[in-house]
Symmetry: C2
Subunit: 456 residues, 2 copies
């Protein structure tokens, strides 16, 4: 079945990063082929249309003002944006007590929140300020060398939180940030390197407001738009199991066929790149690195309602709290459709317990928490969609990867270094907005550019 | 190519654990098939014959008095043992200063060591006593539930060492134990969970003397002996990429063919079991667990000499120290051959630096350290064999796996739980002597026994 044809470049993985790399190479006149394991393209950029005409994004959905490349892409494909709905009071539930308040959202410490004592508030704020300062002091780029790197990489974030907060609220607030919002992952603070969390805050900070806007029609519409130029170059349902390389040529063997190419761009999460058999073996640093980069633990649940009922009650549709299952939810309603959509996240150990429940129990669990946040009307939903990223074998988790202690300082340099004709792409490899669409575009563009230079 | 034949059980992986499982099922009359990815059987039980007639073990080699099942296996196959050579003075090199001494070996704090001050010695001893006590308090079995589990699992071993030692010697001694000898891995203390290290000491303790004896002819002779009964049931060079299961049947698809079976035993390190595509997907806990269990980082280097020259100098051939590359070496000379063999280990960050050197630089680096330990005669070697376990894609590291922080307490329960017709074996799954041959035998026997009950 092997053909004698030699491609200029084979791109493995048709998520955003792989599609961007493929597009740039194709536009440059290169002879490319894209191999995708799943029965669809898009990776974690994937949408769904509801019967109501509303879209939901099962993967990422937001964009922020400093995500230049993603904004360019949206402009190029004429995808319009709207401000993420946030008017009205936010909700905080802590230890079963519910408070409505204004002027406070994740990562921003403005004003005061009723129900949180001054001592608790100060505890969270002081710890946050300390964390920010440590974060700012990190060197540029991937954090694998420099002063203090190994020391910061020897602790878990949990240890740091324990050492730097005094109240239950302060501890929970930091833990929630790690599980549901920032730093990477989402992960439990006990599993992530302090260094990695600090770095995540430095290069993908909530203070840059990465969830400022949403896209009319959702992010999930983009993969097909991007691929439309070179659809005939994409093969789906073709998991790759072996890559042989040497003497300037590469053989890529999928479960369907085998192909020859000059270069290969592997655009997938690092742990999945580690599932491929390389002949000869990759250097030890790389082989072992991919064993040490797990994906975060999170389900995204999208609940739609006839209308955004919470607004009539003066609520913003944004809620956080140490509830049993849902620690964070956000309003994703598109004003053009009039439908109400809440995106809720079940992450970390909460996710791990939740996924042992039956389907109806999982639904009831989430709805029960939404009722606590937004009132009984939350029970009258139209559609309920859960996306269990950890059970998707071609993703393995969500939103993105994180580094356990010791990984950056011992083998981080192997994360994005090319090896012979093999180049790496994928949002996890980015040193700016990793885990976001912006990071996917950056690494896709960089890999394509590296290969283009070699093809000249 | 798919056959209609339905096996009773397919065993994936022909290391010791898979071979033991296969043997027990075969002897019980089951219709089995063993699929092995590599071009040889044995996994990490692998030997080599030197021109001199001496054997070396490129994988594990020692046996201890409490490793019942391994001792039984040796008796069954009439493999004779001899005490690990240890007569004479041991060598310690610390910060470039070299001392010879008696009465001290890894994990045993007896007597005093010249060159180590009383304060340093007390520091190491007290920390060790504390560590042992914490270790003893752990519950039986895999450490994923019980008092203090999550707390102990939230720290790295490095944090604990820093908090519990005051001197550079105390810190190094503990770190060396983690890198070169015990707990699991070998790993750097910054990457391993404190809980995992404590548990490793509890269920595979150096105080049980697991390196008490060596085998005439080496451990590497055993795989062929075990397999001889059912050689025709083993296929090598058959990496498995997909397992489909459901309705009481399993389809196992390798890169060569596909097979149907009632049950399957997957006998490989957990991270490699995670490389297989399961249809339907495994539960989230298991899918994500295998992303979080890296293999340790270690090369085994075997250097042979015309004779054990160190003995004439009154040395035991056992040395430890914070040298640049080799922190531990041991005498592996078989008295029947008269040849001298030193087994040296390059582990953790030392290994990661070492593997970037050229082949001749790597050799010179190790020999240079051996000269520091044993004198210039160490330069006059006959053979030099390095085994780079981390670059073997079908092992991924050595000696065994370790758990980073947070893994045991969040998803440890998924390590050995069967899923439908899929059973797990491999030394990493054992709750006694994991990472040793004994653990491999235990989990192989257990998996075979579980499947046999179902086949009745």
């Amino acid at each position: 079945m092997a053909s004698e044809k030699v491609y200029d470049c084979i791109i493995i993985g048709a998520g955003l990063s792989g599609l961007v790399a493929a597009r740039n190479l194709y536009r440059n006149g290169s002879d490319i082929l894209v191999l995708e394991a799943q029965d669809r393209i898009g990776g974690r950029m994937v949408g769904k249309s509801l019967p109501s005409g509303q879209w939901i994004d099962q993967g990422g959905q937001w964009v922020g003002p400093t995500q230049d490349r993603f904004l360019n892409l949206l402009n190029e494909y004429k995808v319009k944006r709207f401000p993420t709905p946030s008017t009205g009071l936010k909700v905080l539930v802590f230890d079963g007590k519910r408070f409505e308040f204004d002027g406070f959202f994740q990562g921003h410490y403005e004003g005061e929140v009723p129900g949180v004592s001054k001592e608790e508030w100060l505890d969270a704020t002081e710890a946050w300020t300390k964390f920010k300062k440590l974060s700012d002091e990190l060197p540029e780029g991937h954090p694998f060398s420099g002063d203090k790197i190994e020391d910061l990489d020897s602790d878990t974030l949990e240890r740091w939180i324990k050492d730097n907060t005094k109240t239950k609220f302060g501890h929970w607030y930091f833990s929630y940030m790690c599980r549901a919002v920032g730093f990477s992952g989402p992960s439990e603070p006990k599993e992530v390197s302090l260094l990695h969390a600090l770095w995540g805050e430095k290069i993908a900070s909530q203070s840059e407001n990465p969830e400022a806007e949403l896209l009319h029609g959702g992010a999930g519409q983009l993969p097909e738009k991007i691929a439309s130029e070179f659809s005939s170059k994409i093969k789906i349902n073709e998991p790759v199991h072996t890559i042989s390389y040497g003497n300037g040529k590469v053989e890529v063997i999928s479960q369907v066929s085998s192909y020859k190419t000059k270069y290969v761009i592997i655009a997938m999460p690092p742990h999945l790149a580690g599932h491929i058999l390389y002949q000869p073996s990759l250097p030890a640093l790389r082989e072992q690195l991919t064993q040490r980069i797990p994906m975060g633990t999170c389900a995204k649940v999208l609940v739609s309602y006839k209308s955004p009922f919470w607004r009539k009650k003066g609520l913003a549709g944004i809620a956080i709290g140490n509830n049993k299952w849902v620690e964070l939810c956000a309003d994703s309603s598109d004003p053009e459709t009039g439908v109400g959509v809440i995106a809720a996240f079940v992450a970390g150990d909460r996710y791990r317990k939740w996924q042992t429940l039956s389907e109806s129990q999982r639904r009831d669990a989430v709805i029960s928490d939404l009722k606590i946040y937004f009132g009984d009307e939350a029970g009258s939903y139209e559609t309920f969609d859960e996306v269990n990223w950890p059970t998707n074998p071609w993703t393995g988790g969500g939103y993105t990867c994180f580094m356990p202690p010791g990984v950056w300082s011992s083998m981080g340099q192997a994360l994005s270094s090319s090896i012979g004709p093999i180049y790496w792409a994928g949002t996890e490899m980015s040193d700016r907005w990793p885990g976001f669409f912006e990071g996917a575009i950056r690494t896709g563009e960089a890999a394509a550019s590296d290969v283009m230079k070699l093809l000249e």
